[in-house]
C-alpha cells in the first residue's frame, strides 16, 4: 500500500513517519514539496518538523508549496491524509481542518510522553483503536495550542470530530484539551502528538502509535477505499471502521 510522506524544507520527522509506515506494513513513498504530483499514492502523511523554519506561522508558508495544490484537492475528494504536528498546522492553514495552532500557553517548547484518549474511531486513521481507548504518545511542540471560536468548537464536539483529547495535564493550553480533530468525512485527521514516535518500546514510550497507520492500511487493503478515494467518491465508514461502498 503506497502512502506518501511529504518532505518540505524543514520537515524533520519525515524519515520517522516512513519508518512507522513500514513497521505497520505499508510502503512509504517520498513526496517532494516542489512537485505538484502525488505519485498515485493511496494516502498521504504530512510529517512533523519546522517547515520553512516555522517562521511567520507554523505551516503558513508550507501551505503554498506546489505539492499542496493536488493534495488539497484530493483530500477534499476523500484521499486519506494524516497531519502530524507541523502537518496538523499545515492542514489548518490550508483550511482542510478548522481552527489554528498557536504558541503554547506556557510559551515553552514541550517534549514529553502524553496520555491521550481516542474519542472517535470512525475515521480512516483511528479505526483500529477501541472507542475511548487511552494511549501514550510523545508530544513535542512549541506552538501546539489548538484554538478556534466557540461556534467551531461546539460544532466539532457536536459532530464527534474531536479525535484525540489530552488527559492528565494539557501540554499546551489547547481549548477543550483538543489534541486532534478530523474533517466531517473522516479522511483528513490532524493531531499534535507524534504517533510515529510510539512504534516500538526501544525508541518510544509505547507502541500505541502503530494502530494509527494500521487503520489507514486496513481500510486501503480491506476494501476498494483507495479506488474510492481516487475516484473522489465518498465512502461510508462503519463501526468496525472498514471502508464500505455507499
Amino acid at each position: 500500500m503506497r502512502i506518501g510522506v511529504v518532505t518540505f524544507p524543514g520537515s524533520l520527522d519525515d524519515r520517522d513517519a516512513a519508518r512507522a509506515l513500514r513497521h505497520a506494513g505499508g510502503e512509504p513513498v517520498p513526496l517532494w514539496h516542489g512537485d505538484a504530483d502525488l505519485r498515485q499514492v493511496d494516502a498521504v502523511v504530512l510529517p512533523g518538523g519546522f517547515s520553512y523554519g516555522d517562521y511567520l506561522r507554523c505551516g503558513a508558508i508550507a501551505r503554498f508549496a506546489p505539492v499542496m495544490g493536488p493534495l488539497i484537492e484530493a483530500a477534499r475528494g476523500g484521499l486519506p491524509v494524516l497531519g502530524i504536528c507541523n502537518g496538523f498546522q499545515i492542514l489548518c492553514e490550508s483550511h482542510l481542518l478548522p481552527g489554528a495552532l498557536i504558541r503554547n500557553d506556557h510559551r515553552k517548547f514541550v517534549c514529553r510522553d502524553q496520555r491521550l484518549r481516542v474519542e472517535n474511531t470512525n475515521t480512516v486513521w483511528t479505526s483500529e483503536y477501541q472507542a475511548g481507548q487511552e494511549i501514550v504518545v510523545p508530544v513535542k511542540n512549541g506552538e501546539g495550542g489548538y484554538v478556534a471560536d466557540e461556534r467551531t468548537l461546539d460544532e466539532l464536539e457536536g459532530e464527534g470530530r474531536v479525535v484525540f483529547r489530552y488527559l492528565e495535564d494539557n501540554p499546551n493550553g489547547s481549548y477543550r484539551d483538543i489534541a486532534g480533530i478530523t474533517n466531517a468525512r473522516g479522511n483528513v485527521v490532524g493531531l499534535m502528538p507524534h504517533p510515529e514516535h510510539a512504534i516500538d518500546t526501544l525508541t518510544g514510550p509505547t507502541t500505541d502509535g502503530l494502530a494509527m497507520f494500521r487503520s489507514c492500511l486496513a481500510l486501503i487493503m480491506g476494501d476498494s477505499w483507495s479506488t474510492a478515494a481516487r475516484n473522489h467518491e465518498s465512502p461510508v465508514i462503519n463501526a468496525e471502521g472498514e471502508g464500505v461502498r455507499a
Binding site: L56, R57, I102, R103, N104, R107, A148, G173
Partner: protein, 83 residues
C-alpha cells in the same frame, strides 16, 4: 522607495500567552496601571518602487492570505509616515 507596514494581532477572543506573560512581568517589575498587553507581529515591507494604490492593494492581499491567518488574526496596513 516606499515602506508599507502590516501589523498583525491575535483576535481579542483568542488567548495571547505572550501578551499575558509580558503583562505579568511588567507587574513584577513594579509597574502598575497596565490593564492589558497584547503581542503581535509587525512587518516592514520595503517596495522597490512607489507605494502606488496597486502596490498597496497587492500587499493588502498578501496580508490577508500569507501574513495573517484570518481564523485567529486581524491585520492593519499603512504606508509608513501615513499611519
Amino acid at each position: 522607495m516606499a515602506r508599507v507596514v502590516v501589523d498583525v494581532m491575535l483576535k481579542s477572543e483568542i488567548l495571547d500567552p505572550q501578551g499575558k506573560a509580558v503583562h505579568g512581568a511588567l507587574g513584577r517589575l513594579g509597574f502598575e496601571g497596565v490593564a492589558s498587553v497584547r503581542q503581535g507581529k509587525r512587518f516592514e515591507i520595503d517596495l522597490a518602487g512607489e507605494a502606488t494604490p496597486e502596490a498597496v492593494a497587492e500587499i493588502e492581499r498578501a496580508a490577508g492570505t500569507l501574513l495573517s491567518n484570518p481564523v485567529i488574526e486581524d491585520f492593519t496596513i499603512h504606508v509608513e509616515g501615513t499611519s
